[in-house]
Amino acid sequence: MASPVKEIAWNGIELSVPFHWETIVTGRSGLLFEDDFTPLLELRWEKTGKISKKEIEKRGARFWGKDAADRVPSNILFGMPGPPANFTFARGYRNSSGAPVGGICYCKKSSTLLVYQNLTRQKKLLDTMDDPLRSLQCQQDGPCAWRVRDFSFQCEANLTLKDFTLKSGLSRLAFNGPGYTLQTCILSPADRRLEQQSLADILTTLSGAEYLDIHEDINGCTGYRRPSIARQVRYRLKRQQPFISAKIWQNQGANRLLALVLSSKSVISENTLRQHSENYEILQQKN
């Protein structure tokens, strides 16, 4: 029976990893996978634009340095018959003792150069990396997915990651969108947080606004700030975005609070907030 897997998606890269693997976000374009606190696999990537095979190899050699003096043929990567999924070029690297240390892949369509590094020398653990690497692919046209930790967020490709915070009890992503900035936030545990503050108070704090026009219903709280022209000028002079639309709701099953905060220089359509909230959810935990 195949072991359960989970889908991981982060900043343009997608892959399926064993469910018990722990995913650590190491940067805007970096992921690290661990099994029982043992680092297994690290991925780093960047949008390079169009580059030649020679340049890719040059970058690969620079990255691996002395660790990988010998190169294996490009059609053998951890037992894979070819480059993973939609990657057009791949090169594997081995260390002097012949153990695979990682490789470099390039996706022509999305112009993404990806380096993967094997962090273990245990044969048993090395074998578990085949399937995740085979499932590796770049997100191209269409919606962009963000799926790490316990949440999933799907948005249009024109949203770019501004910054993020992944701490204990707080997962926050901030994006720059077309004419607005978006913040997604998950707070946990919800019951403890609600003992100290109401949903409306938490929403006001997250939005950073002094005042929000808040509407409460059974699904959560929605808050708006639509200032008058005079106040808009005041906010702009303070280099703040005058218009805010925000929503917070509770996922009782997972004991989490999910929040979205949109801020813009112009009026934000109600649809934008609704669409984003429909695509933001907590992933079901498998036992």
Binding site: T23, I24, F37, R149, K167, S168, P189
Partner: protein, 137 residues
């Protein structure tokens, strides 16, 4: 002039400013936290732990305090009140469990992911370590 000509060893990236070797993550996770013998702790009815630990003061201030206390030497202490989660982690310190197993236990009890639990537990132990309340074996 010998003092000035003494060569000092350059610090590697695994050594801190004092020249002591820094622990790697794997080594730190395998360490067993032990409560210091210098502290006193008690638990209230709600299960929250209160830790009383001695504070280190410079000899000048100790001498000053002694003078004001008519020659009587007294140990100055501070009290640290732990919240429910902190108290639960405190109870897990039993001289046998290592940091890794405590993290796993916290993750199971609180429903946090291993990564979240690791961040919380290591930050908590770091704070206790700074105050000399626990030691890592």
């Amino acid at each position: 002039m010998k003092f000035f000509s003494r060569k000092t060893k350059p610090l590697s990236k695994h050594h801190n400013k004092k020249g002591k070797k820094n622990l790697t993550r794997t080594e730190a996770l395998a360490c067993v936290p032990v409560r210091s013998e210098m502290i006193h702790w008690s638990m209230n009815d709600e299960g929250e732990v209160l830790v009383e630990y001695p504070i280190s003061i410079k000899p000048f201030f100790i001498a000053l305090a002694k003078r004001f206390n008519r020659g009587q030497e007294q140990t100055l202490t501070k009290k640290l009140q732990l919240d429910s989660t902190g108290s639960r982690v405190w109870q897990m310190i039993d001289n046998s469990k290592n940091v890794k197993s405590i993290i796993k236990e916290v993750a199971t009890e609180t429903g946090l992911s291993l990564q979240e639990a690791e961040l919380s537990v290591t930050a908590f132990f770091r704070e206790l370590g700074k105050r000399g309340v626990i030691l890592l074996k």
